[in-house]
Symmetry: C2
Subunit: 435 residues, 2 copies
């Protein structure tokens, strides 16, 4: 199915951000708004787009091209009358859209999941579907939003000034070409808004409501909603599998760093490599064994743990996730873990000359590896992520190493790591048996 994106407007309320460029090209976390809309839709399986351009449309055309760099197809329609209502913009696509299509707004950011679910719905003949938010979050500007009244799953009323409403129009539609006839009728009657067309379609053919549920959407119309969108997209980077240190200490810092990194052209794999290099440096410093080197090494290892979050964050914010990237990152992490333990052991041994530290190091290394291995082997065999919640993770291990370094107790930290990691592995042998 194709998706029609309305990108003709000026966005006059975002003056500071739209100097010399149209609203759809406003940068948000490394991508312009319209790029984000296209890449979100692509995640939901849509790869053919029609973009209605108007105000400074050539700049949009120049930026997106034929869509090849995004792995999609993009064609354009020019609406020279972009200052009229947005219904006029949609109507311009009449000749290009002879089958059912999605209609998206270039300034509405949303979860790909919504489109994935919407594309499973079967449209009845001539009917349309509008995604509706029944419990709009506090960051939705209700004064400016288009409200709807839904009854028995159908839109009964729609309008900005509706008093009696029970939902908000999210600007995401699944439509059949019947919308164009409805728009013509509405425009003829003097209402040039998209809502006008929707109102007529709702009466004549039926306009169903599709509940957005807990999924995220936002209309970026003001400086305030822009800031809110930025904040929420960053918050969504926290993974349910994140360990405690990652969640409470690393992510708040790493997302701030990622916010800067997305503005550069730095690729996720390079960030993975950088985090690895910091670990190697940490391992090297640990190998000296004296307190001063150890403190710096410990702080570096915790720092690399933070940076290690950024590769995935940047990849997700810029839709650059790849299977290889995830694998590459995991492999480097394991080597980094091992080198740090080797560095610690060597450093302690250089100073104290006792062989016990080598045995403690061996056991800590075995335990660290086994925690990573048992989890991923389980996922591979069972084809699902079962161990996510029970992972004694890298974030905790590197944090313990930093604590040990600050207290100059590297030998005991190795013993603690060895006990905790191996106990966790053995625990898994039991609990997973009874799953």
């Amino acid at each position: 199915m194709k998706a029609l994106i309305v990108a003709a407007g000026k966005g006059s309320r975002l003056k500071n951000l739209t100097r010399n460029k149209p609203k759809p090209l406003i940068q948000l976390l490394g991508l312009s708004l319209i790029e984000r809309v296209i890449l979100t839709a692509k995640q939901a399986g849509i790869d053919d787009f029609v973009v209605v351009i108007g105000y400074l449309g050539d700049k949009i055309k120049e930026k997106l091209g034929n869509g090849e760099i995004y792995g999609v197809k993009i064609s354009y329609i020019e609406n020279k009358e972009w200052q009229r209502g947005n219904g006029v913009s949609v109507l311009k696509a009449k000749e290009l859209l002879k089958e059912n299509f999605f209609l998206l707004m270039s300034d509405h950011i949303f979860d790909a999941k919504i489109l994935k679910e919407l594309s499973q719905v079967k449209l009845k003949d001539g009917e349309g579907i509008l995604v509706v938010d029944k419990k709009p979050k506090d960051y939705i500007d209700l004064d400016d939003a288009t409200k709807v009244k839904v009854e028995n799953g159908y839109i009964r009323k729609i309008g900005k000034k509706l008093k009696d409403y029970n939902g908000v129009d999210c600007g995401i539609f699944l439509l059949s070409p019947s919308i164009f006839k409805a728009l013509e009728e509405s425009i003829e009657k003097g209402d040039e808004t998209l809502s006008g067309g929707v109102r007529i379609l709702a009466k004549k053919r039926g306009m169903r409501s599709f509940d957005i549920k807990d999924n995220f959407w936002i209309d970026i119309d003001t400086k305030n909603s822009y800031r809110k969108a930025e904040k929420i997209l960053c918050k969504k980077l926290i993974k349910p599998t994140d360990g405690p240190v990652s969640r409470h200490i690393n992510r708040p810092v790493s997302t701030r760093i990622s916010k800067l990194l997305v503005k550069t052209g730095i690729k996720p794999d390079l960030i993975s490599s950088l985090s690895f290099a910091i670990c190697l440096l940490s391992a090297f410093l640990f190998s000296f064994g004296d307190y001063l080197h150890i403190i710096v090494a410990g702080l570096l290892s915790q720092f690399s743990s933070i940076i290690d979050g950024c590769d995935g964050e940047v990849a997700r914010l810029k839709f650059q996730q790849t299977n290889y990237g995830a694998w590459f990152d995991a492999v480097l992490d394991r080597y980094a873990d091992a080198m740090i333990i080797l560095g610690i052991v060597y450093g302690w041994w250089s100073l104290h000359g006792k062989v016990e530290v080598w045995i403690a190091g061996f056991i800590a290394l075995i335990g660290s590896f086994m925690n990573s291995y048992t989890a991923i082997k389980y996922d591979a065999i069972f084809k699902k992520n079962k161990t996510g919640k029970i992972r004694f993770g890298r974030d905790v291990r590197l944090f313990l190493i930093m604590l040990g370094a600050l207290l100059n107790q590297m030998y005991y930290i190795l013993i603690i790591l060895g006990i905790l990691t191996n106990a966790e592995s053995i625990r898994r042998l039991y609990i997973l048996k009874n799953e």
Copy 2:
């Protein structure tokens, strides 16, 4: 769909094996023939069986029960006239089978894949399907086999004495209840064989041929075919992912051991644990460091590598594979690998006192783990087995350790292991990137 299994005959040509028991209860690699047929069908998704018993039928009933221990449902029909043709046995099931069903012979062993594929085929009204081997292997006794003449995908002629044939009846059918009418007609005419009924069905409604292709099947009728079946089932235990040492040295020995183990009640997990225990003993002996201990330890580690194959072999031969079992085995293997390296390092260090061996051991341990980790992490992320062919595996590592032990060169073996395993990991970072 249900499966009907004919298990009424005596099997007089297998006298030595059938003393006091009916042919379907002949033991083959730890399971009776009929158990193997049922469990094979279960792998193909069939869990409802009707078994026609005759000669010593009570013994079969006693053995299989209601099927609960196999996780299937089994009901029985008694054919007191079992000395008549096998068509009579099939006809006895007439009242129980009102829908399409599979017909299997209790003495025909075959690949589950055949039934999986056959169950995808849609049967046209009243028609039947017979699985046919167009290129029977040399172990199929052509004098005794039922031959068929296939034309345009349909059976035209069928019979034991057919001269003009182009395939062999594999004894696996997908039938509709129309077969019962055909059997009645055939028996009335004096032909009490199943082939008689098939011949009539072929003429009246159509009997399609389903090519068995390269899948395995065998009719266990003679001592010779019994031995052949045993040999082939053992050969099938070699996995495509087996490394060179595993394939050429370990499997020939381990399958011989498994042939004995399946006759006992020993469970695969116990064998995994035993192999692990042997590794721990090997690690302990390595830790002494002197040549005599090392030789024994090296031989033990290679022996455990062989035993490590038996858990999977027994599990597959007895249909006892579980995801947990595969995971448990892998986790124990990694711990065993680590303990052996630790034992080697400690032993060499005890004798020579040089710290370099600890570093060499660390690097060898990292490399060993990384080979296991990179492979399985890749499989988990990509949801497919890509690294199977490029695995520098455990079989090679343990074999190298044995060689090192026999030559009393444990330090150099650690260095060699460290280089080979880590080189393999780094190679994977490159080749998988370009996949």
